[in-house]
Amino acid sequence: MTRALRSFVIATGIAALVAAPTTAQERSATKQGFDLPANSAKRILVFRPSVRVGAQSTGGMFEPNADWTDKATRNIAASLTKLQSTLGNTVVTAPEAYGDDAQTLQEHMALFAAVSDAVIQYQFFKGNRLPTKKRDNKADVFDWSLGTGVASLPGAKDADYGLFIYNRDAYGSTGRKVLQVLAALGPGLAVKSGEHLGYAGLVDLRTGDLLWLNADAAMGGDVRDAEGSEKRVRQLLEDFPGSTIRATADQPAADPPVAAPRPDTVAAPR
């Protein structure tokens, strides 16, 4: 039945040749009063990054690609270690969890995903923001927490902060790119090819407070190779507290269209 539901969601969403209107792409926030001076030699526990890489079919469906996903997972982990060490922090990979620990970890991963979704939806980007969160934005308040339960996560005792990373990339297939060009040349419609979402969050492993969150709906860097991954991780960490990292170039698209410039809005086909 899950399959059926999924197909229904997809079928109803197909009309999305027509993509959602493009809103602000990138946003980050730091908890008030939190500061991490450079070279403070903190230990950062990295939880299993959620990485999913695939292609975007002509009709806009996500096509999972195991090889790309595996490569991206390895590349991102390597770049992360490299960049954090330039910040003077030590990156520790969260140990494999078993039994009850695995369940607690799983629940916290899901909790982090839910909380960061809420931040992105209701505080960060225009469209669906809550009045209270808009007020918070004006007052520069960023107050979210996963609760003190994080202190019991495997590996939390020996680290100061926890880092969660989420990445989802869909590279436009050849068909999608051709469609994009023809749609731009013919009826002048803007079709989006490729989708590159990412967010990273830093959590205090004592209090569970969300200290920093960076979300970007149009990330750069091709995560399938080492160089591109480093650029991606740079972008994820560019506003990291105490960070001296800057994204190398201001190129929003990791997946440039074949010919036409990347359009920002898309119109319905009729």
């Binding site: 039945m1 079928a11 002509t58 096509e63 999972p64 068909g175």
Partner: protein, 406 residues
């Protein structure tokens, strides 16, 4: 244009395969259907399938640590046993079973060989044969690699729509817009129809496994009659119109129940109707969990459906947990008229098992509600004596006069 042509061709191929898939079901075979020979352990092939399996591996990683999973080795081993008895030991060996606590009638199998069984399924089947029929059907989806085929079908359909949307917008006229709309609905329709045809194919494989096993294949059809009867009972109790089990909605994910019951009965090997259905083994394996699952079902607030399920399970003999569940069902609906019935059901439960603490609690609460306070308090005292540390014990103690506590 090339891309468009390939899409069109791919689409034609899909439609062709669908037609091919339906035909064998429509034609009633004279011999009982049997499963194809076992082809050995399967590994995914091609970028799409490997990608789907990779995603599924991640899902399973999360599922294995999910708080929703019932981690009872005995129950899981029993489910695996029934699956193996149905599809054969060689086929079932690589399958992982996860029992999820959710009071709904479903089970599923995903591309990499993860089988999810929802706890609500256990109330809708009454023996190994009916249970095996469901597991065999799900395994059929896995063996026929339906997720992959469905994925490819959806992709072809949406690709086709993308191109035609483009063509329609090049020549923006009323006629074009209408043709595009027509095509859109026909593509959505084919995606749903493809899904239903996969269900029919899985049904056919499921019954083939049953024919080949030592279970009674006629049970598959019986189970669908149970499902229809439950839906009817549920609608009746709510005063709703009788559900229609024959029509197919545009977005229906499965063929209608009546159709399934009909062709499953026709495909079952007639000579095997006398086989044992394995009701005893089923009851024994589920005994520790039945009260929990029944309790989850009662909390769905579906009086007619729940009452039907309890009576259906009691067809082979009432047990104390079944009477208790029925008492709880009536007591929690909570009309004054329900308490009289509930008291009787609790009393029946106590007759069969005089140590069933929750039955005394239910009986006590019910009697107090109907004004028989003294008898009610006696029952509550008995409950506290039987389970003094129960979570609700403190609350119950407040309902019993001070100084007379056990």
């Amino acid at each position: 244009m090339t891309a468009m042509k390939t899409t069109a061709i791919r689409w034609a191929v899909i439609v062709g395969t669908i037609a091919a898939a339906i035909t064998p079901i429509a034609a009633r075979a004279t011999d009982p259907v049997l499963p194809p020979p076992y082809a050995g352990v399967y590994q995914p092939q091609g970028v799409d399938e490997i990608g789907l399996w990779h995603d599924d591996d991640d899902d399973e990683h999360a599922l294995a640590a999910s708080p929703l999973v019932i981690r009872d080795e005995k129950l899981t081993a029993y489910v695996k046993r029934v699956l193996c008895d149905t599809v054969g030991d060689d086929r079932c060996a690589p399958i992982r079973i996860y029992i999820i606590r959710e009071p709904a009638f479903n089970a599923s199998m995903s591309p990499n060989g993860t089988m999810r069984v929802l706890s609500g399924l256990f109330l809708r089947v009454r023996n190994d044969s009916e249970f095996g029929a469901v597991l065999g059907h799900e395994f059929g989806h896995f063996e026929s690699r339906h997720t992959l085929a469905a994925f490819k079908g959806r992709r072809s359909g949406t690709d086709l729509l993308a191109w035609t949307a483009l063509l329609a917008s090049v020549a923006p006229s009323y006629g074009m817009a209408r043709s595009y709309d027509d095509l859109r609905y026909s593509v959505y329709g084919s995606i749903f129809r493809h899904g239903r045809d996969q269900e029919r194919e899985a049904d056919r494989l499921g019954i083939a496994y049953l024919n080949h096993s030592h279970f009674r294949p006629q049970s598959a059809s019986v189970m669908w009659h149970t499902v229809m009867a439950e839906a009817e009972a549920s609608a009746r109790a709510k005063g709703l119109k009788k559900p229609n089990f024959k029509t197919i909605a545009f977005t229906a994910s499965h063929p209608p129940e009546a159709e399934r019951a009909h062709y499953l009965a026709a495909l079952a090997a007639p000579d095997d109707a006398g086989r044992a259905d394995g009701a005893d083994r089923y009851r024994a394996a589920l005994a520790p969990w039945m009260p929990v699952f029944l309790d989850d079902q009662i909390k769905l607030n579906d009086f007619g459906g729940s009452d039907y399920l309890i009576e259906n399970l009691a067809e082979t003999g009432w047990t104390a947990p079944l009477w208790l569940a029925r008492g709880d069902l009536y007591r929690t609906r909570g009309a004054q008229r329900d308490y009289a019935n509930a008291a009787t059901f609790y009393a029946n439960a106590i007759d069969l098992d005089p140590t069933l603490a929750p039955a005394f609690r239910g009986l006590g609460l019910t009697l107090v509600k109907t004004g028989r306070t003294t008898e009610g308090q006696d029952a509550l005292r008995r409950y506290l004596a039987l389970s003094p540390t129960a979570p609700g014990a403190k609350l119950v103690r407040m309902m019993v006069p001070q100084g007379t506590n056990p």
